[in-house]
């Protein structure tokens, strides 16, 4: 009974043990078990005592079985981790410690087992391991290292990556006294020293982009961060990261340099370059284009269209071109365009428009390039003018050659004919007659020579300089010279020209021209009325135009128009007409860089318009 009570007492005591404990006999049957043990293994109370451990636990590892055997032989077992499933968790872990159970006589009567559920701990451990791996992986991929400083021990720790960034051996042991020597002298070293001081003394964290010189002597850009760690309000150290950003900095720098280079190129191009979006709004313009638009800052041009700068018709044409290029995706190359700005200035461009495609291939706008060809265009115009003048001169020269040859030939033909007659003539009286005719022919030849000479002088005399003279003064002096002639014919001049009108002429030529035209107007007067000459001036395209209108016979220009200014052309039955006046007039006005035109109506009168070139 006593024994029984002893067992009950033991049982009662063991039940309350704070650790999960069980007593097994030599047959590995449970003799005592703490409540915690029963609970940990989720055994049903009362069904534990006397049960074999192998029956209670569905699975016992070989290690544990071996340990039980060793234990029964008197050996203190080691810690054994056992895994068993339960209803909540497919992987439950317990740690077993087995020791031999001795009686009072030091006989081994069984095994005392102590177990602890370690599932949580195991899971935690593997989590930490995983996190560490992850961190390592991350730090090596991102080139981020870490470091720690323990203030109490005054010890500095660098992770492998931090060492790698410093290009230093993995066994290197950093020291707080020397670690700043890796920083580049000057700004970098000063900044990190200051940051470290501020962090340790005032608790301020830092993040700085600085340069180091590695063990191998390479300069590198890094980002270092540091943060104090506190324990009970006392700074016990610092932790931080260390990141290699050299490549990034260099790439950024390179990108910036490239951008600058591109911009410089873009702005220095002697071409107007711009980028437009789908609505033809400018989204990028270079200096040359800004200058053309008369703007100072790019921002003034951005978002605007041709309609803001060019006249409407021009802008419409431009917009149509834009749409065509952007819809078809076919560039428009080197098209000659004339651009009239709102202020009226005209610029000729060789325009190219090239569709702008996004990476996806979709057209997002266009690039425009304008080459200013105004100078070339002007040169072309000048050249054309020069060619026109030259071909006109040539035509005049050929014409003159024909005039000369024709007039000289007609006289020499007469000489030849008369001389032939004279040689074979017997009759003295007739001979005398022929000689008289020869003299007449000779006189005509001389006169012709004089006329032709006059024309040559007009066309070749470069010594006569143009002068700016008062037109009315000249008119009055010519009128005075002709006053007797005017009076006889009852002629008068109606002058509507202002006294301040001046013209740029060779005075002698103007004299001769006015004399000729006034005389003509009176000589070919209408028999029905007294001659009236009306004078007036107008301006047109750099010419001052003097118009001389008469109320005379008029002339059928359909019939005679092309001969009006020809040499020895006469059109009226007038014995005094020599057909030289208008021919000389035309030569004189052309020699002054001007021209002459005529309009006439038979029976009503004639108007001559004299174009005086104001420029040269």
């Amino acid at each position: 009974m006593l024994k029984r009570s002893q067992i009950d007492t033991n049982n009662y005591l063991i039940k309350q043990l704070p650790k999960a404990t069980a007593f097994l006999n030599e047959k590995l049957e449970v003799v005592y078990a703490s409540d915690l043990w029963v609970k940990d293994f989720e055994f049903t109370n009362g069904k534990v005592i006397g049960q074999k451990i192998s029956d209670l636990l569905k699975h016992i590892s070989g290690d544990l079985q071996k340990d039980f055997k060793e234990c029964l032989k008197g050996k203190i077992g080691s810690r054994i981790k056992e895994c068993y499933p339960d209803k909540d968790n497919p992987k439950n872990w317990t740690e077993w410690i087995n020791i031999p159970w001795y009686d009072e006589k030091e006989n081994i009567i069984g095994i005392i087992v102590q177990t602890e559920v370690i599932t949580k701990k195991i899971n935690n451990d593997s989590n930490i391991e995983r996190l560490q791996l992850l961190l390592q992986e991350k730090s090596s991929n991102a080139n981020i290292g870490s470091w720690q400083y323990d203030a109490d021990l005054n010890s500095l720790w660098w992770c492998d990556m931090t060492k790698q960034i410093h290009e230093i051996d993995a066994n290197f042991i950093p020291k707080i006294e020397t670690c700043f020597d890796f920083y580049k002298e000057g700004h970098s070293k000063n900044t990190i020293s200051m940051a470290f001081f501020e962090a340790s003394e005032k608790g301020l964290p830092w993040k700085e982009k600085l340069q180091i010189v590695t063990e191998k002597g390479n300069e590198k850009w890094i980002v270092t961060t540091g943060k104090p760690i506190y324990k009970d309000d006392k700074c016990i150290g610092l932790v931080g990261t260390f990141r290699d950003i050299n490549e990034q900095v260099l790439t950024n720098k390179k990108t910036k340099e490239n951008e600058l280079l591109l911009r410089t190129l873009f702005d220095s191009l002697p071409l107007n370059v711009f980028v437009k979006d789908l609505d033809s709004r400018k989204i990028l313009v270079n200096k040359a284009e800004l200058n053309f638009l008369g703007l100072k800052n790019e921002s003034e041009a951005l978002g605007k269209t041709d309609f803001d700068f060019l006249n409407k018709k021009n802008a419409l044409i431009g917009r149509e071109e834009d749409i065509r290029v952007m819809e078809n995706g076919i560039p428009m190359l080197k098209k000659e365009t004339t651009n009239i700005k709102k202020d009226g200035t005209i610029t000729s461009f060789l325009t190219s428009k090239i569709p702008l495609k996004a990476a996806s291939g979709e057209i997002t706008g266009l690039v425009g390039i304008n080459l200013d060809i105004s100078d070339i265009k002007n040169k072309e115009k000048e050249l054309k003018n020069l060619i026109d003048v030259t071909s006109l001169q040539n035509k005049k020269l050929v014409n003159f050659a024909h005039i000369v040859s024709h007039n000289l030939r007609s006289h020499t033909a007469n000489f030849s004919m008369l001389l032939e007659f004279l040689v074979s003539e017997k009759d003295e009286k007739e001979k005398e007659n022929l000689v008289k005719m020869l003299v007449k022919a000779s006189d005509h030849l001389l006169e012709t020579m004089n006329n032709l000479n006059e024309v040559v002088v007009i066309n070749t005399n470069v010594n006569l300089k143009k002068k700016n003279i008062s037109l009315n003064k000249k008119i009055k002096s010519v009128e005075k010279n002709l006053s007797v002639f005017f009076k006889n014919k009852n002629a008068k001049i109606i002058n509507t020209i202002n006294d301040d009108v001046k013209i740029n002429v060779i005075p002698a030529y103007l004299d001769s021209i006015l004399m000729n035209l006034f005389t003509n107007a009176i000589m070919y007067k209408s028999p029905d009325r007294d001659p009236i000459i009306t004078l007036g001036t107008t301006n047109e395209n750099g010419y001052k135009i003097l118009s001389i209108n008469d109320n005379g016979l008029g002339i059928d220009l359909k019939k005679y128009g092309d001969k009006l200014f020809g040499m020895y052309k006469t059109f009226h039955d007038n014995a005094d007409a020599k057909g030289i006046g208008l021919f000389l007039t035309k030569n004189q006005i052309e020699a002054m860089g001007g021209k002459i035109t005529a309009s006439s109506e038979v029976g009503k009168g004639t108007t001559f318009n004299l174009y005086f070139n104001e420029k040269n």
């Binding site: 024909h402 040859s405 007609s410 030849s416 020895y568």
Partner: protein, 135 residues
């Protein structure tokens, strides 16, 4: 050689008119010679003849450069006159302008009359040959 009824000389130069006339006097037999100072006077003369006596000239000596109406303008009007007979028209000019020769060819093709191109001076030895009336 048969006697020519009527010859016209159309030229504004009195010496040329004198010369041709003198050569015709000695080399050719004719009934009448009429001279005109320009094309206008000549065409008026021919129109008058057509209306009245119907004796149209068989041979015409025609100058090109004349005032008021030149040789070409005369031809322009002459070839459209209702003249069935083939008239010989001798253009006599001192011009060496190729344009004048082109003009001559143009009228020669355009008209049923016989038109010839002669350069001044005309020799006495040539006058008879160019005064043979056209068939």
């Amino acid at each position: 050689m048969r006697k020519i009824n009527s010859i016209f000389i159309i030229d504004d130069d009195p010496i040329t008119v004198f010369g041709i006339r003198k050569m015709l006097d000695t080399n050719v037999e004719f009934k009448t010679i009429s001279t005109y100072g320009n094309g206008k006077l000549a065409i008026d003369g021919i129109k008058k003849v057509l209306n009245e006596t119907k004796v149209i000239p068989e041979v015409i000596f025609l100058d090109i450069n004349m005032p008021i109406m030149d040789g070409w303008q005369f031809l322009e009007e002459f070839i459209v006159l209702p003249i069935e007979e083939k008239v010989r028209i001798n253009i006599v000019t001192s011009s060496i302008d190729p344009a004048d020769y082109e003009n001559f060819k143009h009228y020669n093709n355009k008209s049923h009359h016989l038109i010839t191109f002669n350069t001044k001076p005309i020799k006495s030895t040539e006058i008879a040959a160019i005064t043979i009336p056209a068939e």
